[in-house]
């Protein structure tokens, strides 16, 4: 499957998206030691191509659910940057009014239905959302982003079974960065067979091993068209990827010894950002980079200048009227 006619436009779009996420998170990592961000941050650096490849193939009215490593998904789906940074700062202008923090990003205006700090918990939510879409005969789809750790959870299996049983319009995206914190997935799984397991529940499953943003985009683009057209039911996509930074926090973690520097370096050599960058004229690239830099400056300034919630807000939002 190729979309060659559109490729040059896509290069630009994808470069901008990945560059923007990378730069936002690098800025978070830079600011983090100042303790202005009082929230654990699980950076997506290295994994951006998965979110960008998937979300670029979606429509604005498609709905995504994600994880505590959710910055990339949030931004790729169009989540408001100011709202995200203010949220990390705990400010009342944050996307969750400062109550959620980095692990609980949400932007319902852009179909981002929330991220969760409990592994696997949003998978059935995406399935339930798809149930609602089907019942109301909508042609948008729900997408569930989760990691390889979530595959260990019962909710993963319960969700896949139910989605297949009811032929629900949900795309499961497993971002397999190989590690649940520091535990390799083969320390937790009998075999490297996540897609086989998904297939056995009764859905097509595809594995993309090299983190190529175009392969991910092309697959999702073709898949969601089929999903919208009728009752093809759920589809499963496993994207092998690599988290460059530590599990939580802004630093590297090679000193821990659970993985080698070379393992990550191999992924860095095939980084989508560099390969996309090399396909663009330098003036086009510069223009994108300048625009992103100014957007980031603006967002951090917005967060800095925003107010913390008033203490009496403690009891707001416990119940919906």
């Amino acid at each position: 499957m190729t979309f060659s006619a559109d490729k040059s436009i896509l290069y630009k779009k994808f470069y901008r998206e990945i560059y923007r996420i990378r730069r936002v998170e690098e800025e978070i990592a830079r600011i983090y030691p100042t303790d202005k961000i009082k929230s654990p941050v699980h950076l997506s650096i290295g994994q951006e191509a998965v979110s960008v490849g998937v979300c670029q193939a979606l429509r604005p009215d498609d709905i995504v659910f994600g994880t505590y490593r959710g910055h990339a998904m949030y931004l790729a789906k169009g989540g408001d940057l100011r709202g995200m940074i203010a949220e990390l700062y705990g400010k009342s202008t944050g996307c969750a009014k400062g109550i959620g923090g980095s692990m609980h990003l949400i932007d319902t205006n852009h179909g981002i239905m929330g991220t969760s700090a409990i592994v696997g918990t949003t998978i059935p939510l995406a399935v339930g959302y798809a149930y609602g879409l089907k019942l109301n005969q909508k042609d948008s789809i729900a997408v569930s982003f989760f990691g390889d750790g979530a595959v260990d959870e019962g909710a993963f299996h319960e969700s896949l079974n139910y989605a297949a049983l009811k032929k629900l319009p949900v795309l499961f995206v497993c971002e397999n960065n190989l590690y649940a914190i520091h535990s390799h997935h083969l320390q937790r799984h009998h075999s490297d067979n996540i897609t086989e397991r998904a297939r056995s529940y009764g859905m097509p499953a595809k594995r993309i091993e090299d983190g190529d943003v175009f392969k991910i985009y092309d697959f999702v683009k073709a898949t969601v068209e089929k999903m919208r057209a009728g009752s093809c039911g759920p589809v499963f996509l496993e994207c092998v990827t690599c988290r460059w930074k530590e599990h939580v926090g802004p630093c590297d973690d090679f000193h821990l010894g659970y993985r080698s520097e070379e393992e990550v370096a191999a992924w860095k050599r095939k980084d989508s950002l560099s390969s996309l960058g090399s396909l663009l004229e330098s003036d086009i690239r510069n223009k994108i980079e300048l625009a992103v830099a100014s957007e980031i400056t603006d967002a951090f300034k917005f967060a800095e200048e925003s107010l913390f919630p008033e203490p009496e807000r403690l009891y707001h939002y416990l119940f919906k009227e």
Partner: protein
Amino acid sequence: MPRILKYPDAICEALEQEMSRDPSVIVLGQGVDDPKAILGTTKGLVEKFGSERVSDTPLAEDGMTGVAIGAALAGLRPIHTHIRMDFVLLAMNQIINMAAKMHYMFGGAVYIPIVIRSIIGKSWGQGAQHSQSIYPMLMNIPGLKIVAPSTPYDVKGGLIQSLRDNNPVVFIEHRLLYYQKGHVPEESYTIPFGKARVLARGSHITLVGISHMAVECLRAQRYLKEVGIEAEVIDPVSLSPLDIDTILASTLKTKKIIVVDNSWITCGAGAEIIAQLTEKNHENKGIVFRRMGFAFVPCPTTPALENSFYPNAKTIASTAYEMIYGKKDSWTPDAELTIEEVEFKGPF
């Protein structure tokens, strides 16, 4: 002539009326569309509303609670049914980590109108894993509403209110309440959460009974009447929010209160109610408190032990008598079969 309905029929009527009124209400749960229809409470719903709105589920309590939450985010109002409350323990992750928190944690951006319906089991050997009522654990969690009505009137109005509420509601029934008959208006109506119901008026002692224990308290009240003691019986109906004011007003009048939990005493609703009464009444000493509830062991199956596991009308009445007349002047009403013991035979 008041219209008399049984407790399960009142539930079924509430579901039928609310599903007719609001197309976003859907019923999920193991067996909701099967021939036994959750003890008749979902009878006729799949025929009337179709299998997309009334749907059996896999045995996946946690996942299906998540599905209900996701469906609620998509604009539906799911009611997820568990035929025993013990099964709710399998869904605690989604209930506590997700449903109870999402409106708050996302700064009001979303809300979760779901109802988690469950039935507490008792007698005919329900045993350790078919008899639990875990409302005290859930009362410890902000973001949940918890209701456990004891009368057919309140079960209908309470269920309709639960389905219209925009928050997660844990709706607790009791297997032995399924024999209760009472006045139930035909039209749709709601009852307010956070409003206790005074089931009997009296001035000598206050008996607060939760779920089926409200019925035991009413029986105790009748026994006590025979010996000249007028007990006031209160069913809190909703446990979160809790109407402590009604209980406080009664206690200030009677100066004596027994809270009978339909669960274990430790960290139970009784502990919470009495702690709140004490805090609110710190200047007015002289109130005598007592908690009753399950013996602090798992529920045994054999009736020989099960009978001592639960408080009952007799033990409640004799405890009340002792609180009024002192230990040395003890009294126990004559044994009498309860209506459930007469009518409720196994296997289920």
